[in-house]
Symmetry: C2
Subunit: 195 residues, 2 copies
DNA sequence: CCTACCGATCGGTAGG
DNA sequence: CCTACCGATCGGTAGG
């Protein structure tokens, strides 16, 4: 059945994303993954073409989500700084919603081989280029501080990585608390404001 | 000879740190490493006890460097916010000086097994606990903005990770430019100051 | 420091 | 979806 076929594949992709985040792509065996979804290793190949194929679907799927958010942000009828804030909040939200896929996207994409590696890097560069443009525009309008734009870009992206890698919202730190605190730190800095 | 013995081991550790950063610990084979230092795989074992032993030396050695910097910072005759700035500048500096070891420290430590895993985590937690205390003190004195301290801690640490992972200072981005820009962004935020 | 080799495990296939 | 199995590669050892 098409239906179950699809659900099983989705389950495999989700289990793989979790294993890749927890142990890393290279340290995750197809036998680990098979056990997770209650199959023998050989049966996985009825649903996916190869181990790399799984990583490819996760990485390209996540890249598409980021690019869609960028499309949306660019269309907003607000100044550049607002678009950037919108995107950074998206980074926080996706980190809390789908942390496993985003960790593969961030940390494991280097295990892709050509031609997928190139396709992935092209998407990533496109996102970075457009984000960089928004940063420069925000600096030109005077909304944003004049900080070397590439350094700002990578520092902002990097600042979220603990959210993907291992953080899980819980009783002691809620999703709201985290979003508020992260945004405040990145937008206004650690030092108390005042001129 | 003791002298050459030591140099060779140091060379192995440095080559391993570079391979672990570029390919990951699990994807780096002892044969990869042997080739890098012009030996056969079996000869590596005259210098090191095991693959995990290499990772352990890198991770614990780096942890010690961070703890030494913390000792220093705590002794400075300045307010807490200054100590934090001092430590963050240390994070930038070590990222530019020894990026390979710090990447293993950050990304590959999870491949350690007991009892080393526990020893490593204890050192890391000690560093985080002391950094957290400085943050809280800085907020109490009114120097630092009131941001959820643990979120601030992990966001600050995470913000540097692109420096370790893949950045190399060069003609287009010098070490000075990077340090200035990163510190400005973290201390004062992306938005232009002004009340 | 090397040659020769070990058992274990890897991703993946054949065939039903 | 499974059993049975493949060649390749893994970390590491024996012995010199």
């Amino acid at each position: 059945m098409q239906e179950t076929e699809k659900n099983k594949k989705q389950l495999i992709l989700e289990s793989a994303a979790r294993l890749f985040r927890d142990k890393g792509y290279a340290a995750t065996s197809m036998r680990d993954l098979a056990q997770e979804v209650h199959l023998k290793a050989s049966s996985l190949y009825n649903h996916i073409a190869s181990k790399e194929d799984i990583l490819r679907e996760i990485c390209l799927g996540t890249a598409e989500k980021f690019l869609l958010a960028m499309d949306e942000a660019e269309k907003l009828p607000i100044p550049p700084a607002g678009k950037i804030e919108h995107l950074l909040r998206f980074h926080v939200k996706i980190a809390l919603q789908d942390p496993t896929s985003v960790t593969s996207f961030n940390d494991e994409w280097r295990h892709l081989r050509e031609p997928f590696l190139n396709g992935f890097m092209t998407m990533r560069q496109d996102y970075e280029r457009r984000f960089l443009l928004l940063l420069k525009q925000g600096m030109d309008t005077g909304e944003l501080a004049h900080i070397e734009p590439r350094v700002a870009l990578y520092t902002l992206f990097s600042a979220m990585r603990w959210l993907y890698d291992w953080f899980r919202p819980g009783k002691s730190l809620s999703a709201e608390t985290v979003e508020t605190a992260v945004m405040h730190l990145l937008m206004n800095g650690l030092f108390k404001k005042g001129s």
